[in-house]
Amino acid sequence: MKILVGVKRVVDYAVKVRVGANGVELKNVKMSMNPFCEIATEAAVRLKENKAANVSEVVAVSVGPKQCQDTLRTALAMGCDRAIHVKTDLRGDYMELQSDSVAKIFQKIVEEKEQNTDLVLLGKQSIDSDCGQVGPMLAGFLNYPQATFAANIDLDGDGLKVERETDSGTETIKIPSLPAVITCDLRLNEPRYATLPNIMKAKKKKIDTIDANDLGVDLTAKNKVLEVYEPPPRKEGIVVEDVDELIAKLKNEAGLLQ
């Protein structure tokens, strides 16, 4: 099995973002691998470590500026075998490069560069734009089966059994045969941190760079962002005397209870 895993470079989850004239301020802000992409990478590496999955190779792919190489190094240090950097200076947080273009870039890579890919693992969404569309779109473009919001992935015959997060619990579906696209949710695993021996090994692994403009994909934004603004500050709360008052307020003022 050959696995392709998408790793996006985003503003670190712990950073308190500021909004500037052109959307969220990206200058001098700590950037890291998107947490859901870390989960996807962990899932890929665990499949590789599972002898029964017979994984021949895990290839990490990142679309973005040259600093994406740092993100790819992290993926390599976590256990991916090699990496592809699709270089573009367009902003990836929906301001310029949008989900459909990214999905098409991945489609091109699967169809033209990494033809025998059996599984594409992606995060369920990236924490900058929160679109959650690359996975489903990619599955559509490739005409592959998909499982989104994966909370568990098991081998099952020639295919996979995937437990999916839903609003009312989880649902288990079977992908009868590969290739397929899976997007990974929070509970799937706890990503490892790169240990020093693996950071050192990763230095010897290969990162190929492709210019996004050379893929023949339309990179223009289909949607236009009209305005980016910070959420309004939360209004100050009040202290209630007792449970009865709380229930009364939830009923009468908040309308949350009937």
């Binding site: 600093q67 740092d70 992290t74 240990t195 020093l196 021996p197 950071i199 050192m200």
Partner: protein
């Protein structure tokens, strides 16, 4: 990041780390938060570093930072070792001390002056699973270390017999390998001092009880008694009578590691204290917004920044083969002062909560104090700095 056009024409900023160093920093930080932090209080209470934690230190490569890959080490640079010490210290200074002594003192002495025999015999296990100690101090030989009484006499052509007692030895309870400084020829004074590599399980090596300490409670500090300990001449580290020279050299650079530990402690305080100041309100405003407190934490952060720049610069001077002894001494002196002050202020800024054991700032305060004592007390650092200054101005 470092390949911008600017780098080609100007030296890069001292705070700019290489890609490896950045990844190492991140990796150690993640481990410390995930694996170390949850065990912090228990290890403090039980006064030990858990074997499972030590195992991770080895597996993750933190104990073999500068050991060549051919011996199973990571093969990275001194700065990376200091970065690892700092990031561990930010969570637990006791564990940081274990890593510090092992990497910057013991391993490096063997790397620098060990015979091929000693390197082949010890570097693989020091990289894999053997903790080590550096045995210099004695009850009556602290700052005046070279007045040591521990002796090694040549009992036959190929054997030395060691007798004496070393005090305050970090990692003593966990160590499998010791570097022991002995005088082989007391009539020659410090010129008789010679270092030996001794396995802890050699007959006659007795590890004493743990010292009860103000801080660094998880770190073991013990006396080690050497009672007719017979070692082969091949266990001699470097040349006969060169021990004092090696000792000075290794401590000159090792203390940069202590500076890193101290800076880690101060950062650890800020990690706790700043979110608290941002939350806590008195007189209808956040503590972090009170002008007088702002004056104080801005000043503290500035001093900490200076200490960190000094530490990094000492690392880079050393790595570039430039003179660094004065800068390393300054770095350790200043870092321990700044850190002690920040620990103390952090407690004040947090009020009663800072004084309670729940928030760990009082632990940092206790752990920090020894920074002005070990690997050369503050007075000894100032002595070193003064000596070099004097010579710089005497033409």
């Amino acid at each position: 990041m470092s390949s911008s056009a600017v780098d080609k024409f100007f030296p890069s900023p001292i705070t700019l780390l290489t890609e490896d160093e950045r990844m190492i920093k991140e990796s150690v930080r993640k481990w410390a938060i995930k694996d170390l932090k949850p065990r912090l209080q228990e290890m403090e209470t039980n006064e030990c570093i858990y074997p499972s934690v030590i195992q991770k230190l080895f597996e993750n490569g933190y104990m073999s930072m500068e050991i060549n890959e051919k011996y199973g080490g990571i093969g990275t640079n001194f700065t990376s070792a200091c970065i690892a010490i700092q990031e561990i210290s930010r969570i637990d200074p006791s564990v940081a001390l274990m890593v510090d002594v092992h990497n910057t003192l013991v391993v490096n002495m063997i790397r620098f002056w060990g015979s091929d025999y000693l390197k082949d015999k010890y570097l693989p296990k020091l990289a894999k699973d053997s903790v080590s100690s550096f045995c210099l101090s004695e009850a009556n030989a602290g700052s005046d270390a070279f007045s040591m009484k521990t002796q090694a006499y040549r009992s036959s052509d190929n054997l030395f017999t060691i007798n004496g007692t070393k005090s305050w030895i970090t990692n003593a309870k966990e160590a499998e390998v010791l570097i022991v400084f002995c005088n082989v020829n007391p009539s020659e004074g410090y010129k008789g001092i010679t270092a030996f590599v001794v396995d802890t399980d050699t007959e006659g090596v007795n590890i004493g009880v743990r010292e009860k300490k103000l801080g660094l409670k998880a770190s073991s500090t013990c006396q080690i008694v050497f009672d007719n300990v017979i070692v082969d001449a091949s266990q001699m580290l470097g040349e006969l009578g060169k021990g004092y020279e090696y000792c000075i050299k290794i401590l000159n650079e090792g203390r940069i590691g202590i500076a890193s530990q101290q800076i880690g402690i101060a950062k650890g305080c800020f990690d706790v204290v700043m979110p608290y100041l941002n939350e806590r309100e008195q007189f209808g405003m956040k503590l972090a917004d009170m002008p007088s407190l702002q004056q104080q934490y801005a000043q503290a952060a500035t001093e900490l920044y200076a200490a960190e720049v000094m530490m990094l610069n000492a690392c880079r001077l050393k790595e570039n083969g430039l003179p660094f002894v004065k800068e390393a001494a300054m770095s350790k002196l200043f870092a321990s002062q700044v850190s002690e002050k920040i620990c103390s202020q952090s407690i004040e800024w947090m009020g009663a909560v800072g004084y309670s054991t729940d928030y760990k700032v009082e632990k940092f305060f206790r752990d920090c104090k020894v920074g002005s004592i070990y690997e050369g007390s503050s007075n000894i650092q100032r002595q070193t700095i003064a000596k070099i200054m004097k010579s710089e101005y005497s033409h």
